[in-house]
């Protein structure tokens, strides 16, 4: 509210104390440990750094993590929209139960999700068996990683888009209809553009989450170097080999990309806000 200068007109007590404690805790728990990562990486020369990142195994792992995370986010983007549409616009048996269960991937520990998905999609599993019968092998292949990444990304698109669609006034659609729009036009020209900022935010969140995912993936992945070994697992392996600098270098790459995604999300949200609000 107060433009340029810091205006301390607040009569409430405790600003100095609480702010001091906040910054101290933030530094001890978050900032200093994160700084240690960059400190460790800075011990490497540029050649060493790119040697680590450019090695076949690292590159494969990064490609696998980012590529499959992107693909899973695309699936969640599409299926998330379908789920939101069904939950908000239609009524069907057990709708409320399905609505509540969408949050499960948030709440279920990733290790539990990992063993559950593996058991489900293993060759003798409930879904793995029929899939194997038609020649599709899911568990212990990159396809399994993809499945796990879809699982953990489901709530992001659904929960960001759902409230926006629910709040979209029915009059907007009526206006479009009375102007001669077909249902296809109403959806593609009016509803989807209105939801787009939320959809993109959900997409980016699902992507960011899937890139870094570890627990639910490693059980089902198979973890073959260059084939089904994700980047977070490679970090763990390098750590167990006491190659700390290697682990740190891979982590830095992943972290920087994650921050870029967060930055993009913020831009999307600011962009949609400026369009919706006065200047």
């Amino acid at each position: 509210m107060t433009g340029g200068q810091l205006e301390q007109r607040n009569v409430l007590p405790g600003f100095g104390l609480t702010m001091g404690l906040t910054l101290t805790w933030l530094s001890i728990i978050v900032l200093i440990p994160l700084a240690a990562l960059f400190l460790k990486t800075s011990e490497l020369s540029l050649t060493e750094f790119f040697g680590i990142i450019g090695s076949r195994r690292t590159l494969s792992a990064l490609k696998l993590s980012f590529g499959l995370a992107l693909a899973a986010a695309v699936i969640n983007f599409i299926m998330g929209m379908i789920v939101v549409w069904a939950l908000v616009r239609y009524d069907f048996p057990l709708r409320r139960l399905f609505d509540a269960i969408v949050d499960l991937p948030f709440a279920l520990p990733t290790a539990v999700a990992g063993v559950a998905l593996t058991a489900l999609f293993a060759e003798k599993g409930w879904l793995g068996a029929p899939l194997a019968a038609i020649g599709i092998k899911v568990a212990f292949t990159p396809l399994g990683i993809f499945v796990a990444m879809i699982f953990i990304g489901i709530p992001f698109v659904v929960r960001t888009v759902e409230p926006v669609l629910a709040d979209l006034e029915i009059e907007i659609e009526e206006a479009a209809v009375s102007l001669g729009a077909t249902r296809w036009h109403v959806i593609t020209k009016v509803i989807v553009p209105s939801l787009m900022p939320a959809m993109l935010t959900g997409f980016a969140l699902a992507f960011a989450r899937a890139v870094g995912e570890y627990g639910s993936v490693i059980f089902i992945a198979g973890n073959l170097p260059n084939v089904s070994e994700i980047a977070p697992l490679l970090i763990v392996i390098r750590l167990s080999e006491f190659r700390y600098a290697d682990a740190a270098a891979i982590a830095v790459v992943m972290l920087v990309v994650s921050f870029l995604i967060i930055f993009a999300i913020n831009r999307i949200q600011r962009w949609s806000l400026t369009r919706a609000m006065s200047r």
Binding site: E174, A175, S178, M196
Partner: protein, 349 residues
């Protein structure tokens, strides 16, 4: 383009929103649907637009049934109460929407669309806002965008739902004069819904007064004001004094007192006497149809307004009457009251 609604019935659960409504709007007219909330006026408007369907009855445009067509095929311009502008589109794109979604064989060229949109923005006097987004506009500006968007499809009929309802008092007044003059220019058959009698009286060629899903009266503003057809219209439009009276044997009684009034063909039984406040002439005691004691006097610009207690019926009935400023009225005075014009309606069951 004439609009006809015949025997329209619409039920929402146990609530009868429209009960056998008949209405005819002539080509080029500007008609107001006036009534309190819940009177069914918006439902009727939405049925004409094709946004709702009646349970029974017919809607005819120029004698042709409109119910067979969906909202998008009726060529009706609809202005929503809260405008329903597309927030992700600029003002220009909002207005262009109806032109861009036409089937390809009917769609105009891009150049034609630009010209038409610019002409419309000129017409509603917001050409300088073409590149803004709805979120950046004031209420009055949004209203103009909504109107331009509805007019873009060259509608045969223009329907407006509480077009000024969401605006503050000053803008509302300005905009309704402007709408009236705009209608005089473009002359498209128009129907608008309002709960504000002043708005209806000022803007409309004819007023349709509705209550509880029924049409109470259709007439020019003068008509409905001067010759209200029902007790509801008399009470709803203009300020009226209402007294519970009893009609019997050609006589009108207020409590025990027989009033020197014609029953005017009102049926025997409990009735209501309506008098416009300015038609109630205040005179000295003993010189009126009614008599009462002044309780309170207030100055209202050029007039005095007095609360007068009339003894009669069970206890007192308090009414508010006008008097010239130069009359020396004070609380406690006994005054006589004589209705210059009045109407008597049977009390509703």
């Amino acid at each position: 383009m004439t609009i006809e609604a015949r025997n329209i019935v619409k039920q929402f659960g146990a609530f009868r929103a429209l009960d056998d409504v008949d209405l005819r709007v002539e080509g080029g007219e500007l008609v107001a649907l006036l009534g309190p909330s819940g009177s069914g006026k918006t439902t009727l408007l939405r049925i004409i637009a094709g946004l709702d369907w009646p349970d029974a009855g017919e809607v005819l445009f120029n004698g042709e049934s409109a119910l067979e067509r969906g909202a998008g095929e009726r060529n009706v311009g609809f202005v929503f109460q809260h405008y329903a502008l597309f927030r992700h589109m600029s003002v220009f794109e909002n207005v262009a929407f109806g032109l861009r979604v036409q089937p390809r064989r009917l769609r105009r060229s891009e150049a034609d669309i630009r010209k038409r949109v610019n002409d419309l923005l000129d017409l509603v006097q917001i050409d300088w806002l073409a590149n803004r987004y709805p979120g950046q506009l004031s209420g009055g500006q949004r209203q103009r965008v909504a109107l331009a968007r509805a007019l873009a499809i060259e509608p045969r009929i223009l329907l407006l739902d509480e077009p000024f309802g969401a605006l503050d008092a000053k803008v509302r007044k300005e905009l309704r004069r402007w709408l009236r003059s705009l209608h005089d220019d473009i002359h498209v058959t128009s129907l608008f819904v309002t709960h504000d009698q002043e708005e209806a009286l000022e803007v409309a060629d004819r007023i349709v007064v509705m209550d509880k899903g029924k049409i109470e009266q259709i007439g020019t503003p003068e008509d409905v004001y001067d010759n209200p057809a029902t007790a509801f219209v008399h009470g709803f439009i203009g300020e009226s004094i209402m007294l519970p009276v009893e009609v019997g044997g050609g006589q009108v009684r207020f409590g025990p007192k027989v009033l020197d009034l014609e029953s005017g063909g009102a049926a025997s039984g409990p009735s209501r006497l309506f008098v416009r406040r300015h038609d109630m002439v205040l005179g000295p005691a003993g010189n009126g149809t009614l008599e009462g004691a002044v309780k309170r006097v207030r100055a209202f610009g050029p007039i005095l307004r007095a609360d007068v207690a009339l003894p009669g019926g069970d206890g007192e009935t308090m009414i508010e009457v006008d008097a010239p400023r130069d009359r020396a009225l004070k609380p406690g005075d006994i005054v006589g009251l004589k209705p210059r014009r009045y109407r008597i309606f049977a009390a509703q069951a």
